[in-house]
Point group: C2
Chain length 198, copies 2
Amino acid sequence: MTTKYLPPPWAFEFHGHQCPFMPIGYRMGCLSLEKLELEREKDHGFFVIAELGEGHPQTCMMDGIQVATGATFGKLLIAKTFYGKLAATFYHPQKGAVRLSLKPDAVDEMGKFEFIAVRKKGVEPSRIPVALSEEIIRWVYEQTDESLFAVELKPDYQFKPVKGSFNKTKCATCGEYVFDRYLRMKEGKPVCIPCSGY
Amino acid sequence: MTTKYLPPPWAFEFHGHQCPFMPIGYRMGCLSLEKLELEREKDHGFFVIAELGEGHPQTCMMDGIQVATGATFGKLLIAKTFYGKLAATFYHPQKGAVRLSLKPDAVDEMGKFEFIAVRKKGVEPSRIPVALSEEIIRWVYEQTDESLFAVELKPDYQFKPVKGSFNKTKCATCGEYVFDRYLRMKEGKPVCIPCSGY
């Protein structure tokens, strides 16, 4: 069995190296679209609340999620909760929400691969022999959705995107444009946060 | 004149729509690599501190930056300062840092295009006639680096990436894995932040 959700070649180019977590995130993203009956997001209408944080590995799954869903960081559609968990909630205002998490048993299985052992020694993914990255990625492709992911529909999930505005003003000190919600007043003049000193 | 830094076709596929700010970010990213004499980042060694925020437009430039530099959100290499400015600092521990900002005059010039007028009316980019998006993207491609960007080398820039750890523990309540820095103690047991209730 091989999953039908294989990342396109450019997903690896975007990500920069071969690792198992980008493809796992790609599968999570594709599954979220399948469960919510959505297509990849072109604009600004689909949100990913990722339960990952900083200073830990396996966050690469968020690159796969960006690639699969179109909920990109640049479009302000993906944000971290800083929980340090391998899970994400996917939300669409009309279609509702679904949470996908990587099952602990799947995490344990992955921990048995040489790729992970070498990573823990501090070797960067692009320096790990291709045979080792291909071995674990192939394993990811061959697992069923059920063995990898817990899927939980969240019909009552609440999420309110920040209200946007195009208004901007030049900082009275540095002259650069600042979107108005980030202007600060200093001696009666609008300035940017760095120029404000507070 | 046309810039040599044109995003690959998959950059638009990743981003999801045709707009001028993804290509602008792509150029910023390429220029940062040029100035710091670096290649696209494969792993985890190059950092982007983007001065954008939330609830404002033109953040799409961060998708172009991810594509150009390999400093992706999934690899924890790009973060926002929440300043609401059209600028970013690019940092490499050995090569130093450079700040690129979009010049206010360039922002004003872009504001004259029909594409921006239609966007301000709330029309999503994928719904804007292709002729209008192509017109403003072509304009971006035809501008010199000097007319678009202020470039500032920052030899004294300080940035300390968060120290990472692979250690993880199962939450005593939900059973999901949590990376240790995010564990909380509740009634003597390690739990994840959502299960902790605080």
